[in-house]
């Protein structure tokens, strides 16, 4: 089975400005996305995520390297047939209504008008734009545009969905919705490739990730291989005691009213803290061990490079 995406030693240098100055943006990127998985392409702002996607879509000509989509060179427009794409900032014709826009998108795939009508209605429902379907896009909020963008990315029932910052501009509820949709894609057998610079609440949905920093992949692999089960520290919230009481056992992070948030770095000391609370007739409000998250790895690799 061919990989959904295979990128090999991709390089791109921008020449910008009136007197062109060369700036390497992608410095030899290689990774592949397997069919049927959710792949997170993560990195801080300006790392080169969008540039990688633009190379993949043929918007930018790479200086070196090869890209294959389902085993087909990305240079052929046909390689984009099984593909749906949501751009980072949704730029669409703002005088079209959502429904007209989707019909136009269907035309670009050469889909027959007969079959698109029903599909458009289904997609509008999927992304929650049923009631705004006949409103021009210029009246849409950023989040609504993002939804319209998602709908147009799905018009050809793609095998591979590429989403550039799909959670950007979304409120918490919207983020959850999009996350659920992404998971549903996977259940339908689609491959999802998406970028993000925010890690909270996406890590549980990725099968594998690649982390790009400064135009280089610094980590790639299955999430469970990257993230260990190791407990980093335990957080405890207690009330009825002064923070000073825990000196030597734990670090007090913050105090709110009579509540103290503690961070206990040695597992052996967790028991001692609990004993102390009991001895002083204090109350334990919460206790939670923090294992390593993607965010920790991310922050670690980004600050190291």
């Amino acid at each position: 089975m061919a990989d959904a995406i295979r990128i090999d030693k991709l390089q791109k240098t921008f020449r910008l400005g009136f007197i062109p100055k060369t700036r390497p943006i992608l410095k030899g990127i290689s990774f592949s996305v397997r069919e049927g998985e959710i792949f997170g392409y993560l990195g801080p702002n300006g790392a080169g995520k969008t540039t990688t996607i633009k190379c993949l879509l043929g918007l930018i000509h790479p200086d070196a390297g090869t890209i294959e989509i389902f085993g087909r060179s990305h240079l052929s427009p046909r390689s984009r047939e099984p593909l749906g794409f949501l751009p980072e900032n949704p730029y669409f014709y703002d005088y079209l209504t959502a429904r007209e826009f989707l019909a136009f998108t269907a035309d670009l795939f050469g889909l027959a008008r007969k079959e698109t009508g029903g599909r458009i209605a289904r997609l509008l429902k999927l992304v929650g734009l049923e009631r705004a379907a006949d409103l021009p896009l210029r009246k849409f909020s950023r989040g609504m545009l993002q939804r319209a963008g998602l709908a147009q990315a799905l018009i050809n029932d793609p095998k591979l969905v590429i989403l550039d910052e799909p959670l950007g501009g979304m409120d918490p509820l919207g983020r959850k919705e999009i996350r659920d949709i992404i998971v549903r894609f996977k259940d339908e057998g689609k491959t999802v490739f998406f970028t993000s610079h925010i890690l909270q609440d996406i890590e549980m949905i990725c099968d594998r990730v690649a982390i790009i920093v400064g135009g280089r992949i610094v980590k790639e692999g299955a999430l469970r291989d990257l993230v260990s089960e190791r407990v980093l520290f335990t957080e405890a919230t207690v009330s009825g005691l002064f923070p000073d009481a825990f000196r030597g056992l734990a670090e007090s992070v913050s105090v709110q009213g009579d509540r103290v948030l503690l961070r206990i770095f040695e597992e052996s000391k967790v028991g001692e803290v609990l004993d102390l609370v009991r001895a002083h007739k204090g109350r334990l409000v919460s206790l939670s061990p923090r294992t390593e998250t993607l965010e920790d790895i991310f922050v670690e690799t980004v600050t190291r490079t």
């Binding site: 921008f14 540039t51 633009k54 879509l57 043929g58 918007l59 930018i60 000509h61 427009p77 046909r78 390689s79 984009r80 047939e81 593909l83 794409f85 751009p87 900032n89 730029y91 669409f92 014709y93 005088y95 079209l96 136009f104 998108t105 035309d107 670009l108 795939f109 050469g110 963008g149 147009q152």
Partner: protein
């Protein structure tokens, strides 16, 4: 058809452009005012109406072609709507051709509307519908098609203002280059003559599309000239569009 989808969206967008209606208004004004002008002058009034009317259609048509031609391609790149387009299974050539056809369709509708006003004004004067005038209008339209291709070519790598200036320069050169033909006739054979001849072959000669005088004065035109003017327009347009595709294919959209 993907090309038609792009042509359709281009037409839709062009229809929303106020500049188009402003130019149309001035063209209509020119055509209608030709009557007033005719009253004030001595000589053949009908001829003046026809002359001024055709000139209005030609001049404002060219301005329309240049302004919407350079504006619409650039806007697509500038507003980044092109990202979603080119991410589809679409050749860049299809994009260029679609844009071009949409613009041509727009100009066709505009030329048609201007011609109707023009024919009505002439009718008001002569009480005859003079279909032969449409021959001149047809070749004006062919010229607009070529100018549109030029506008698309320039705007595939340049800003609207520069592209408009380039396209305008193309138009002016195209209407002055026939002078070279006279020069060639008067030159002695030699390297200089060959050079000027090469220059003349390469430069556009838009006077090829000018049948205004013949039509207005009812002069006979050999059919061969019609055919060669038509072929000249079609081939030159195809050549310019080919260049536009070549330029556009090399571009990065960052």
């Amino acid at each position: 058809m993907k090309i038609w989808a792009i042509a359709g969206i281009t037409f839709k967008e062009a229809k929303r452009d106020r500049i188009l209606y402003l130019l149309f208004f001035f063209a209509a004004l020119g055509i209608v005012a030709s009557r007033a002008l005719a009253v004030l002058t001595v000589g053949d009034r009908v001829k003046i109406i026809k002359d001024v009317g055709l000139a209005s259609i030609s001049v404002f048509g060219v301005l329309m072609a240049i302004l919407i031609g350079t504006g619409l391609v650039y806007k697509e790149i500038d507003k980044k709507t092109i990202f979603t387009l080119l991410a589809k299974p679409l050749h860049r050539a299809e994009f260029i051709l679609g844009k071009f056809l949409g613009l041509v369709l727009t100009l066709f509708v505009m030329t048609l509307a201007m011609s109707l006003i023009f024919l009505a004004i002439v009718y008001a004067h002569t009480l005859k519908i003079e279909g032969v005038l449409l021959v001149a209008v047809g070749y004006i339209f062919l010229e607009l098609v070529l100018i549109t291709a030029v506008a698309v070519l320039f705007s595939s790598f340049s800003t609207p203002i520069l592209s408009s200036l380039f396209a305008l320069a193309f138009y002016l050169i195209g209407h002055l280059s026939w002078g070279l033909e006279l020069i060639i006739k008067k030159m002695r054979p030699g390297a200089g003559k060959a050079l000027v001849r090469a220059l003349y072959t390469f430069l556009p000669d838009l006077e090829n599309f000018n049948f205004k005088t013949e039509v207005v004065h009812g002069l006979p035109i050999p059919p061969g000239i019609y055919v060669s003017a038509f072929l000249y327009g079609v081939c030159y347009t195809a050549f310019i569009l080919g260049l536009a595709v070549l330029v556009f294919r090399r571009r990065d959209f960052i």
